[in-house]
Protein backbone atom coordinates (compact mmCIF):
# COMPACT_ATOMS: atom_id res chain seq x y z
CA UNK A 1 0.00 0.00 0.00
CA UNK A 2 1.33 3.42 -0.90
CA UNK A 3 1.87 5.77 2.03
CA UNK A 4 -0.60 8.63 2.08
CA UNK A 5 0.32 12.20 1.24
CA UNK A 6 -0.07 13.10 4.91
CA UNK A 7 2.46 10.44 6.01
CA UNK A 8 4.93 11.47 3.34
CA UNK A 9 4.60 15.17 4.19
CA UNK A 10 5.10 14.39 7.87
CA UNK A 11 8.30 12.48 7.05
CA UNK A 12 9.63 15.35 4.93
CA UNK A 13 8.88 17.88 7.65
CA UNK A 14 10.23 15.75 10.48
CA UNK A 15 13.52 14.63 9.01
CA UNK A 16 13.90 16.26 5.61
CA UNK A 17 13.27 12.83 4.08
CA UNK A 18 14.14 13.21 0.39
CA UNK A 19 12.83 9.76 -0.48
CA UNK A 20 9.43 10.70 0.94
CA UNK A 21 9.43 13.91 -1.09
CA UNK A 22 10.44 11.90 -4.17
CA UNK A 23 7.43 9.69 -3.59
CA UNK A 24 5.20 12.78 -3.41
CA UNK A 25 6.65 13.99 -6.70
CA UNK A 26 6.12 10.57 -8.30
CA UNK A 27 2.50 10.50 -7.18
CA UNK A 28 1.61 14.00 -8.39
CA UNK A 29 3.94 14.70 -11.29
CA UNK A 30 1.50 13.54 -13.94
CA UNK A 31 -1.33 15.79 -12.76
CA UNK A 32 0.93 18.84 -12.38
CA UNK A 33 2.72 18.32 -15.69
CA UNK A 34 -0.55 17.60 -17.47
CA UNK A 35 -2.10 20.78 -16.09
CA UNK A 36 0.89 22.86 -17.12
CA UNK A 37 1.05 21.27 -20.55
CA UNK A 38 -2.55 22.25 -21.02
CA UNK A 39 -1.85 25.80 -19.81
CA UNK A 40 1.20 26.27 -22.00
CA UNK A 41 -0.63 24.96 -25.03
CA UNK A 42 1.42 21.80 -25.28
CA UNK A 43 4.88 23.28 -24.75
CA UNK A 44 6.30 20.24 -22.98
CA UNK A 45 9.70 21.72 -22.20
CA UNK A 46 8.26 24.86 -20.64
CA UNK A 47 5.60 22.87 -18.81
CA UNK A 48 8.22 20.54 -17.32
CA UNK A 49 10.40 23.48 -16.27
CA UNK A 50 7.41 25.05 -14.55
CA UNK A 51 6.48 21.71 -12.99
CA UNK A 52 10.00 21.38 -11.60
CA UNK A 53 9.78 24.90 -10.16
CA UNK A 54 6.38 23.99 -8.74
CA UNK A 55 7.73 21.00 -6.82
CA UNK A 56 10.79 22.88 -5.58
CA UNK A 57 8.52 25.71 -4.37
CA UNK A 58 6.28 23.07 -2.81
CA UNK A 59 9.25 21.61 -0.97
CA UNK A 60 10.35 25.03 0.28
CA UNK A 61 6.86 25.95 1.46
CA UNK A 62 5.74 22.57 2.71
CA UNK A 63 5.34 23.89 6.24
CA UNK A 64 2.72 26.31 4.94
CA UNK A 65 0.56 23.44 3.71
CA UNK A 66 -2.20 23.26 6.31
CA UNK A 67 -4.13 20.36 4.82
CA UNK A 68 -7.19 22.51 4.19
CA UNK A 69 -7.31 21.09 0.68
CA UNK A 70 -5.85 18.03 -1.00
CA UNK A 71 -2.09 18.16 -1.50
CA UNK A 72 -2.60 17.85 -5.26
CA UNK A 73 -4.92 20.88 -5.23
CA UNK A 74 -2.30 22.86 -3.30
CA UNK A 75 0.35 21.87 -5.85
CA UNK A 76 -1.88 22.82 -8.76
CA UNK A 77 -2.31 26.24 -7.15
CA UNK A 78 1.46 26.69 -7.03
CA UNK A 79 1.72 25.48 -10.63
CA UNK A 80 -0.89 27.99 -11.76
CA UNK A 81 0.92 30.83 -9.97
CA UNK A 82 4.21 29.80 -11.60
CA UNK A 83 2.54 29.79 -14.98
CA UNK A 84 0.98 33.20 -14.36
CA UNK A 85 4.32 34.66 -13.20
CA UNK A 86 6.08 33.30 -16.26
CA UNK A 87 3.41 34.67 -18.54
CA UNK A 88 3.71 38.05 -16.84
CA UNK A 89 7.51 37.96 -17.15
CA UNK A 90 7.20 37.26 -20.84
CA UNK A 91 4.90 40.25 -20.88
CA UNK A 92 2.43 38.37 -23.01
CA UNK A 93 4.92 38.35 -25.89
CA UNK A 94 4.65 34.60 -26.10
CA UNK A 95 1.45 33.66 -27.82
CA UNK A 96 0.54 30.68 -25.69
CA UNK A 97 -2.43 29.72 -27.76
CA UNK A 98 -0.59 29.56 -31.07
CA UNK A 99 1.57 26.64 -30.17
CA UNK A 100 -1.16 24.11 -29.70
CA UNK A 101 -1.81 22.65 -33.05
CA UNK A 102 -0.02 19.36 -32.62
CA UNK A 103 0.89 18.57 -29.04
CA UNK A 104 -2.40 18.17 -27.19
CA UNK A 105 -3.89 15.60 -29.49
CA UNK A 106 -0.84 13.36 -29.10
CA UNK A 107 -1.39 13.01 -25.41
CA UNK A 108 -5.12 12.79 -25.15
CA UNK A 109 -6.54 9.50 -23.97
CA UNK A 110 -7.32 6.90 -26.53
CA UNK A 111 -10.84 7.79 -27.51
CA UNK A 112 -13.56 5.36 -26.66
CA UNK A 113 -15.27 3.66 -29.54
CA UNK A 114 -18.20 6.04 -29.30
CA UNK A 115 -16.11 9.15 -29.89
CA UNK A 116 -14.52 9.80 -33.24
CA UNK A 117 -10.79 10.49 -33.32
CA UNK A 118 -11.39 13.57 -35.43
CA UNK A 119 -13.67 14.99 -32.81
CA UNK A 120 -11.02 14.41 -30.15
CA UNK A 121 -8.47 16.25 -32.27
CA UNK A 122 -10.80 19.15 -32.90
CA UNK A 123 -11.66 19.31 -29.22
CA UNK A 124 -7.98 19.44 -28.28
CA UNK A 125 -7.44 22.26 -30.77
CA UNK A 126 -10.52 24.10 -29.51
CA UNK A 127 -9.36 23.76 -25.91
CA UNK A 128 -6.03 25.22 -26.87
CA UNK A 129 -7.73 28.26 -28.36
CA UNK A 130 -9.31 29.15 -25.04
CA UNK A 131 -7.75 31.81 -22.83
CA UNK A 132 -5.39 30.41 -20.16
CA UNK A 133 -7.94 31.15 -17.44
CA UNK A 134 -10.73 29.40 -19.28
CA UNK A 135 -8.48 26.48 -20.13
CA UNK A 136 -7.36 26.21 -16.49
CA UNK A 137 -10.94 26.20 -15.24
CA UNK A 138 -12.01 23.57 -17.76
CA UNK A 139 -8.98 21.39 -17.05
CA UNK A 140 -9.33 21.58 -13.28
CA UNK A 141 -13.07 20.90 -13.22
CA UNK A 142 -13.25 18.26 -15.94
CA UNK A 143 -9.82 16.61 -16.27
CA UNK A 144 -8.83 16.78 -12.60
CA UNK A 145 -12.39 16.47 -11.31
CA UNK A 146 -12.10 19.37 -8.89
CA UNK A 147 -15.20 21.07 -7.56
CA UNK A 148 -15.81 24.68 -8.55
CA UNK A 149 -14.76 25.75 -5.05
CA UNK A 150 -11.50 23.80 -5.28
CA UNK A 151 -10.80 25.23 -8.72
CA UNK A 152 -11.38 28.72 -7.32
CA UNK A 153 -8.82 27.92 -4.62
CA UNK A 154 -6.27 26.78 -7.19
CA UNK A 155 -6.82 29.77 -9.46
CA UNK A 156 -6.95 32.19 -6.54
CA UNK A 157 -10.16 33.82 -7.69
CA UNK A 158 -13.76 34.00 -6.47
CA UNK A 159 -16.15 31.15 -7.14
CA UNK A 160 -18.21 33.35 -9.44
CA UNK A 161 -15.16 34.01 -11.62
CA UNK A 162 -14.54 30.29 -12.05
CA UNK A 163 -18.16 29.80 -13.05
CA UNK A 164 -17.83 32.64 -15.56
CA UNK A 165 -14.63 31.12 -16.99
CA UNK A 166 -16.38 27.77 -17.34
CA UNK A 167 -19.42 29.32 -18.96
CA UNK A 168 -17.33 31.29 -21.46
CA UNK A 169 -15.10 28.29 -22.11
CA UNK A 170 -18.12 26.14 -22.91
CA UNK A 171 -19.55 28.83 -25.19
CA UNK A 172 -16.22 29.12 -27.01
CA UNK A 173 -15.88 25.36 -27.31
CA UNK A 174 -19.43 25.16 -28.65
CA UNK A 175 -18.58 27.81 -31.23
CA UNK A 176 -15.33 26.11 -32.24
CA UNK A 177 -17.00 22.74 -32.50
CA UNK A 178 -20.27 23.85 -34.11
CA UNK A 179 -19.61 21.68 -37.15
CA UNK A 180 -19.93 18.69 -34.83
CA UNK A 181 -23.28 19.80 -33.50
CA UNK A 182 -26.06 17.36 -34.29
CA UNK A 183 -28.17 18.53 -37.19
Amino acid sequence: MNPSDTDLIARVLASDDRHAFGELVRQHQSAVRGFLRRLTGGDHALADDLAQETFVAGYRNLRKFRGGSAFSTWLLGIAYNRFRDTRRRHNETVEWTDTITSAPEIETRAPPASVAVDLQLDLAAALARLSPDERSAIHLCYAEGLTHEEAAGVLGCPLGTVKTHLLRAKENLRAHLKTWAPA
Binding site: V25, Q29, R33, R37, E107, A143
Partner: protein, 106 residues
Protein backbone atom coordinates in the same frame (compact mmCIF):
# COMPACT_ATOMS: atom_id res chain seq x y z
CA UNK B 1 -16.16 14.36 -23.76
CA UNK B 2 -14.13 17.01 -21.94
CA UNK B 3 -13.24 14.40 -19.33
CA UNK B 4 -12.12 12.02 -22.05
CA UNK B 5 -9.91 14.73 -23.53
CA UNK B 6 -7.91 14.96 -20.31
CA UNK B 7 -4.19 14.34 -20.75
CA UNK B 8 -3.28 10.72 -20.20
CA UNK B 9 -0.90 9.66 -17.44
CA UNK B 10 2.47 11.25 -18.08
CA UNK B 11 5.34 8.88 -17.55
CA UNK B 12 7.81 9.99 -14.91
CA UNK B 13 10.83 9.47 -17.23
CA UNK B 14 13.41 10.90 -14.86
CA UNK B 15 11.32 13.90 -13.85
CA UNK B 16 11.39 13.02 -10.13
CA UNK B 17 15.17 12.65 -10.19
CA UNK B 18 15.50 16.10 -11.79
CA UNK B 19 13.27 17.64 -9.14
CA UNK B 20 15.23 15.99 -6.33
CA UNK B 21 18.47 17.31 -7.80
CA UNK B 22 17.02 20.82 -7.95
CA UNK B 23 16.01 20.80 -4.28
CA UNK B 24 17.97 23.01 -1.90
CA UNK B 25 20.91 21.38 -0.15
CA UNK B 26 20.03 19.10 2.72
CA UNK B 27 20.21 20.71 6.12
CA UNK B 28 23.56 20.09 7.72
CA UNK B 29 22.45 18.60 10.99
CA UNK B 30 25.64 16.54 11.29
CA UNK B 31 27.85 19.60 10.94
CA UNK B 32 25.86 21.47 13.58
CA UNK B 33 26.31 18.54 15.93
CA UNK B 34 30.04 18.44 15.15
CA UNK B 35 30.36 22.18 15.79
CA UNK B 36 28.60 21.87 19.14
CA UNK B 37 30.76 18.89 20.07
CA UNK B 38 33.92 20.82 19.21
CA UNK B 39 32.91 23.87 21.22
CA UNK B 40 31.82 21.71 24.14
CA UNK B 41 35.09 19.81 24.13
CA UNK B 42 37.09 23.05 24.04
CA UNK B 43 35.12 24.44 26.96
CA UNK B 44 35.47 21.23 28.96
CA UNK B 45 39.21 21.11 28.23
CA UNK B 46 39.61 24.68 29.47
CA UNK B 47 37.74 23.96 32.68
CA UNK B 48 39.75 20.77 33.34
CA UNK B 49 43.01 22.61 32.70
CA UNK B 50 42.03 25.39 35.08
CA UNK B 51 41.04 22.92 37.78
CA UNK B 52 44.06 20.65 37.43
CA UNK B 53 46.68 23.37 36.93
CA UNK B 54 45.90 25.08 40.26
CA UNK B 55 48.96 26.93 41.64
CA UNK B 56 51.07 26.16 38.62
CA UNK B 57 48.73 28.18 36.49
CA UNK B 58 48.98 31.09 38.90
CA UNK B 59 52.79 30.89 38.71
CA UNK B 60 52.63 30.80 34.95
CA UNK B 61 50.26 33.76 34.96
CA UNK B 62 52.64 35.71 37.19
CA UNK B 63 55.49 34.96 34.82
CA UNK B 64 53.48 36.13 31.82
CA UNK B 65 52.23 39.29 33.49
CA UNK B 66 55.78 40.05 34.64
CA UNK B 67 57.02 39.85 31.07
CA UNK B 68 54.10 41.90 29.85
CA UNK B 69 54.81 44.56 32.45
CA UNK B 70 58.45 44.67 31.35
CA UNK B 71 57.42 44.95 27.69
CA UNK B 72 54.86 47.54 28.63
CA UNK B 73 57.59 49.68 30.14
CA UNK B 74 59.38 49.86 26.80
CA UNK B 75 58.31 53.13 25.19
CA UNK B 76 56.84 52.17 21.82
CA UNK B 77 54.52 54.97 20.65
CA UNK B 78 52.60 52.92 18.05
CA UNK B 79 52.09 49.82 20.19
CA UNK B 80 48.72 50.94 21.58
CA UNK B 81 47.15 51.65 18.20
CA UNK B 82 48.63 48.46 16.72
CA UNK B 83 47.16 46.45 19.57
CA UNK B 84 43.76 48.12 19.11
CA UNK B 85 43.73 47.47 15.36
CA UNK B 86 44.86 43.86 15.84
CA UNK B 87 42.16 43.27 18.46
CA UNK B 88 39.49 44.79 16.23
CA UNK B 89 40.66 42.71 13.24
CA UNK B 90 40.64 39.55 15.32
CA UNK B 91 37.14 40.32 16.61
CA UNK B 92 35.87 40.88 13.07
CA UNK B 93 37.54 37.70 11.83
CA UNK B 94 36.05 35.65 14.67
CA UNK B 95 32.59 37.15 14.08
CA UNK B 96 32.83 36.47 10.32
CA UNK B 97 33.98 32.90 10.90
CA UNK B 98 31.19 32.34 13.38
CA UNK B 99 28.59 33.74 11.00
CA UNK B 100 29.93 31.65 8.11
CA UNK B 101 29.91 28.50 10.20
CA UNK B 102 26.42 29.19 11.47
CA UNK B 103 25.00 29.92 8.02
CA UNK B 104 26.56 26.74 6.59
CA UNK B 105 25.24 24.70 9.46
CA UNK B 106 21.63 25.83 8.87
Amino acid sequence: MLREAAPMYIDNAGFTAKVLMALPRARRRVETRRLLLLLGSALLGTVITLVLAGNQLVAFGTLVTGHLARWGAVPVPWLGSTFTIATAAAAIAIAAAGWWGWSRAR
